[in-house]
Symmetry: none
DNA sequence: GATTCGACGCAGCAATCGACGCAACTCGTA
DNA sequence: TACGAGTTGCGTCGATTGCTGCGTCGAATC
């Protein structure tokens, strides 16, 4: 029970900064004990300590102190990437065979989309996807409907070599649906999140899903699209100074960690760098890069960044 | 006191222009912070930001920067995002260069799109393109606006090697706009036209333009998308029995005439086979293949096929 | 008596300042 | 068709500004 309240000296020693700095942070950035009577000693609760720890970590990573403080002040400890378990088990429904796409137990809607895809019926695909997006939202639709269908097509394609036209057709329809969602949710503020594919990477759909989810959540973003060379990515970062950068890599060959290193070494280093997609290997990622396991996790991280204002130096 | 005043860098990042440009605008057009002591840092108030936003919006609409600045300077600081005057050039103002995309004499709207593209401002691009599509229709917009801009980007990309991210961004925006057009014109009848890229061909945009134009004309079509192998194309033809097939090839390497031969040899041979795109060479095309020189020609051919078909079945 | 408080000052460094120049685009003219 | 004039965005350079961490000092707190 000794963690009730820490004195300023104890906190300073624990964080590795001077006591005076702690006072400065309190005065300049409002980053102090939540309950403090002027003139009396500061007593830091564990929550205050967590805030200060975020501040310390961000400044250690090169984020400008004022910005780091803003981030730390309004962060309800979002940095630990918690597991958002959502393995929803569906009831085992048997469905007929024929020339279809394996969708596993993704439900009847997925099966319907798969059949429409085999018919090359883009109207039906678009209608079904749009309806699902409107009814369930982007993230559930992606996880529960689109990813299973696309995975099924991919599986089939890998096994038989055919079905390429089906894959393209579904991709286009899904892409259109995402674009419609994004257009239906215009975002007022400036775009603080940059979405880009890794170099040579041409799978844009997951990034578009993320974009649609962000638009749904009211977060502005900039989408660079497929095959972004490192130089172009760094230039875009310098030009627009995003708070977060999401780099998507679908396969291992496009997941060159040097791209992430280049992003981290940019003059205007983003607050948050996300390495998304199955291509990245966790053990080769440079320090300071977060690897979301989920669309949902990527969205929540990006939403958390939204509230951080820019103004790198002006206080 | 946090968001009262923005630094120059923060404003530049928010607008998507370089910091030096901001200073230039201040010096040349008097478009700077209302209270600024020479030698001291510039602090932009929300009102100043609103002025700059007017400047940004006007330039994105194609207004010459000097004129846009004049407009923004004497704006009552509170101009909601209403539609301002359209692309009418009042006085003969010379329009300069800078780091832009050459659009030739394609008009102020093209220049506005080019400027917005350089700023990676997808919202402005999408709005301008959507407005042009709605006002002028697909074919004129493609020939008069989109193709010049895209050609300018391509030229510049070929010359300098950069600008890839701009190219992707514009492509995506245009693609979304086409999709929106297609969705706004639902076609009742069956899809009799099949649109496909040649094998290994990945430029989809011209095909999407054709699709949007067909939708606008009330002609149903099926879009297969990029990189369609010959086998997949033939199978799709057999499965759906289209009256016309459009095969797009952008570069010469993807324009293998054997693909056209295979289409002509399909069990359900289409009434009309179009070899579209600059990749095809007229002297190597098999007999029975038509080569449209234009988007307009492709559209009119497709419309003709539809009409003749309707006559034969319904008459 | 040890520690912390608020206030103040100082040195290092990143961002910005003003000035200047360059390259590129458009347009009028020869 | 070629070329010069007018515009425009932005990179560069040396100087300046202002943010940042921390030390110091007299008074107050524990």
């Amino acid at each position: 029970m000794a963690d009730e309240a820490l004195s300023a000296g104890a906190v300073a020693r624990r964080l590795g900064v001077a006591v005076t700095t702690l006072r400065t942070w309190h005065q300049r950035y409002g980053l102090g004990p939540s309950e403090h009577v002027p003139g009396h000693h500061r007593r830091y609760t564990p929550a205050d300590l967590a805030r200060l720890d975020i501040m310390r970590r961000l400044t250690a990573e090169g984020v400008a102190p004022a910005e780091a403080a803003r981030w730390a002040r309004q962060a309800p400890a979002v940095l630990p990437p918690g597991r958002l378990g959502l393995n929803r088990r569906a009831t085992a429904v048997r469905d007929g065979g024929g020339t279809t796409i394996p969708v596993g137990r993704a439900g009847p809607v997925a099966r319907g989309v798969a059949r429409a895809a085999m018919r090359l019926d883009s109207v039906a695909i678009g209608a079904a996807v749009a309806h699902a997006l409107g009814a369930d939202g982007v993230v559930p639709t992606w996880d529960g409907l689109l990813r299973p269908v696309l995975a099924g097509i991919g599986e089939r394609h890998a096994a038989t070599g055919g079905l390429i036209e089906v894959e393209h057709l579904v991709s286009r329809c899904v892409s259109e649906a995402f674009a419609t969602v994004a257009r239906a949710h215009p975002v007022a503020g400036p775009a603080r999140i940059l979405l880009a594919c890794a170099d040579e990477e041409q799978h844009t759909l997951p990034l578009e899903a993320l974009g649609a989810a962000l638009a749904e959540a009211g977060v502005g973003y900039r989408m660079l699209g497929a095959r972004v060379p490192v130089a172009a990515l760094v230039e875009a970062i310098n030009r627009t100074g995003p708070a977060a950068v999401v780099l998507w890599s679908h396969t291992r060959v496009t997941a060159d960690p040097d791209q992430l290193t280049a992003v981290l070494a940019a003059p205007r280093r983003p607050l948050l760098v996300l390495a998304a997609g199955p291509g990245w290997r966790a053990d080769t990622l440079p320090a300071g890069v977060v690897r979301p396991v989920n669309l949902a996790e990527a969205v929540s991280l990006a939403v958390a960044v939204r509230d951080s204002l820019d103004q790198s130096t002006a206080g």
